[in-house]
C-alpha cells in the first residue's frame, strides 16, 4: 500500500485567549504558525474553556499538514490519514478538514480560520457548512499509537487533483462552531520533523486501477473463477 509522509511544513496555530467564543473560533490567528517542532506535548490540537476570575476564556489550537500528492494519478479507492498522539490525547474527537494554508507566506492573517474556510466565505460565524470535511468525527487513539482518520471521497478526489494535499485537524466541536462548556482538552502530536520515522504523520492509500493496467483478476479477489 503506497504511503505519503507529511511534509516538514506541518505544525499548529493557536487563537487568542478570549471571553468571546465567536472571537476565538472565527479568529485569523493570534500569532504565526509553528512549523519547526519535532513534537508538541501541549500545543497541537486544543479546545478549551478556562474558568478564571468569575469569567470564562476560550482557546483553540488547530494543526495542519500537507502532502506531496503529485504522484497520485487517480483518486485512491481508500485512504487513511494516520496521526500519532504525544503525551496526551484528551482533545477528542477530532475531524480532518480541507485546508488552504501556505507556510511559505506565513502572515498571521493568512492562517487559522482563513485557511480552512479557504478565504472564500466570511470569517464571521463560519461553521461546518462553510468548509469541506475530509473525514468523519474520529476519536483520538492512545498516546504513542496512531489514530486512523478514514479519508472520504472529497479527500481522495483532491489527492488526485491537487499536487499538494492540505488538511487541518481540529476538534469536532470546533468544526461545528460549538463552544466548550468545561475542561482543558489537549492532544499532543508528533510532527513530520521527528527524527524517528515511525512517529511521523502519513497517509496510506489504495491506488485506483490505472488506465492500461492489467485488470485485477476476480479469481485473485474471490478465490474462485467466474
Amino acid at each position: 500500500m503506497p504511503t505519503i509522509t507529511a511534509s516538514s511544513n506541518d505544525g499548529y496555530q493557536s487563537s487568542s485567549l478570549n471571553s468571546s467564543w465567536d472571537a476565538v473560533h472565527d479568529h485569523v490567528g493570534a500569532s504565526n504558525p509553528v512549523t519547526n517542532l519535532t513534537y508538541s506535548a501541549l500545543h497541537a490540537i486544543r479546545y478549551e474553556y478556562v474558568s478564571a476570575r468569575g469569567g470564562i476564556k476560550y482557546y483553540l489550537t488547530r494543526s495542519f499538514f500537507d502532502f506531496d500528492t503529485s504522484s497520485v494519478g487517480s483518486a485512491p479507492t481508500e485512504a487513511t490519514f494516520k496521526l500519532k498522539a504525544h503525551t496526551q490525547n484528551t482533545c477528542t474527537p477530532c475531524i480532518v478538514a480541507k485546508s488552504g494554508h501556505d507556510p511559505s507566506a506565513a502572515a498571521t492573517d493568512d492562517w487559522f480560520s482563513t485557511w480552512i474556510t479557504d478565504q472564500s466565505v466570511t470569517l464571521s460565524g463560519w461553521g461546518a457548512s462553510d468548509i469541506t470535511a475530509y473525514s468523519a468525527s474520529t476519536a483520538m487513539g492512545s498516546v504513542d499509537a496512531f489514530t486512523d482518520f478514514t479519508l472520504n471521497e472529497d479527500a481522495r478526489d483532491d489527492m488526485a487533483s491537487l499536487s499538494t494535499f492540505k488538511i487541518c485537524v481540529l476538534h469536532n466541536n470546533d468544526y461545528n462552531d460549538t463552544a466548550p462548556t468545561s475542561g482543558l482538552l489537549r492532544t499532543g502530536l508528533y510532527w513530520a520533523n521527528n527524527g524517528t520515522e515511525s512517529h511521523r504523520p502519513y497517509i496510506d492509500y489504495t491506488a485506483a486501477e490505472e488506465e492500461g493496467e492489467a485488470p485485477v483478476s476476480n479469481a485473485t479477489f474471490f478465490g474462485a473463477n467466474f
Binding site: 485567549l17 501541549l42 478556562v50 474558568s51 478564571a52 476570575r53 468569575g54 469569567g55 476564556k57 482543558l184
Partner: protein
C-alpha cells in the same frame, strides 16, 4: 487540571498560573482600589465578615483595617493557604477555612460577604449559598471580571459603583479604566 492542583508563581505585584491556565494572572496589585472599596462596602456593619478567596491578601488587609468583629477566610489553593496562615498569625479575629466554599461546611451567618475566586466551577450555586449564610441586610459583593455591570447571579437588590482603576497588562480581565463594583443587599 483543577485550579487547586496547579503550581502558582508569586511575584511582587501578581500571582501567575502555569501553562494549564495559559500563565494567566490570578491576581495583580493594580486591583487595590477595587479591594479597598469592596472591603469598605461589606464591612459597613463592622460585624462578621466572610471572604472567599485570599489571593494576594489585598482585600484581607483592607477588611482588617475596618476593625470587624470576625473575619473568616476561605481558600482552596495550598500554596496560597501557606501564605494565608503566615498572614493570619498575628490576627486574633481571623478564622481560616481550607477548601471549596461550597462544600467546606460553612453554616454561620455573616454580615458581609465577598466572593473572589479563580477557576471556580461552583459559581452557579453562589446565590443560594449566599442567601443561606446571609442575614437580612447583609452586604455582599463579588469580583466582576467584565468591563460593564454584570448581575451574573441575579440578586434582587443590586447596584453598581464605579471604581477608577489603571490595570497593568494582563490576560485575565477586560476591565480597563472603570471597575463596576456590585453592591448587593440581601
Amino acid at each position: 487540571m483543577a485550579f487547586k492542583d496547579t503550581i502558582l508563581t508569586f511575584e511582587n505585584n501578581k500571582i501567575i498560573t502555569n501553562d494549564d491556565y495559559h500563565n494567566m494572572e490570578v491576581m495583580m496589585d493594580w486591583e487595590a482600589p477595587i479591594m479597598e472599596k469592596s472591603a469598605e462596602y461589606i464591612c459597613e456593619s463592622k460585624g462578621d465578615i466572610l471572604e472567599i478567596g485570599f489571593g494576594m491578601g489585598i482585600c484581607s488587609d483592607y477588611i482588617q483595617a475596618q476593625g470587624v468583629n470576625s473575619h473568616t477566610i476561605v481558600e482552596i489553593h495550598p500554596q496560597i493557604i501557606e501564605k494565608l496562615k503566615i498572614w493570619a498569625e498575628d490576627k486574633s479575629n481571623v478564622t481560616i477555612v481550607e477548601g471549596d466554599w461550597l462544600t467546606c461546611g460553612i453554616t454561620n451567618k455573616y454580615d458581609g460577604i465577598f466572593l473572589d475566586t479563580f477557576g471556580d466551577e461552583s459559581l452557579d450555586s453562589f446565590k443560594s449559598f449566599a442567601i443561606a449564610i446571609g442575614k437580612i441586610g447583609t452586604k455582599l459583593t463579588y469580583w466582576n471580571n467584565y468591563p460593564h455591570v454584570n448581575d451574573k447571579y441575579n440578586f434582587d437588590d443590586i447596584t453598581f459603583e464605579e471604581v477608577t482603576v489603571s490595570p497593568d497588562s494582563n490576560i485575565y480581565t477586560e476591565i480597563q479604566e472603570t471597575y463596576y463594583m456590585p453592591k448587593v443587599v440581601l
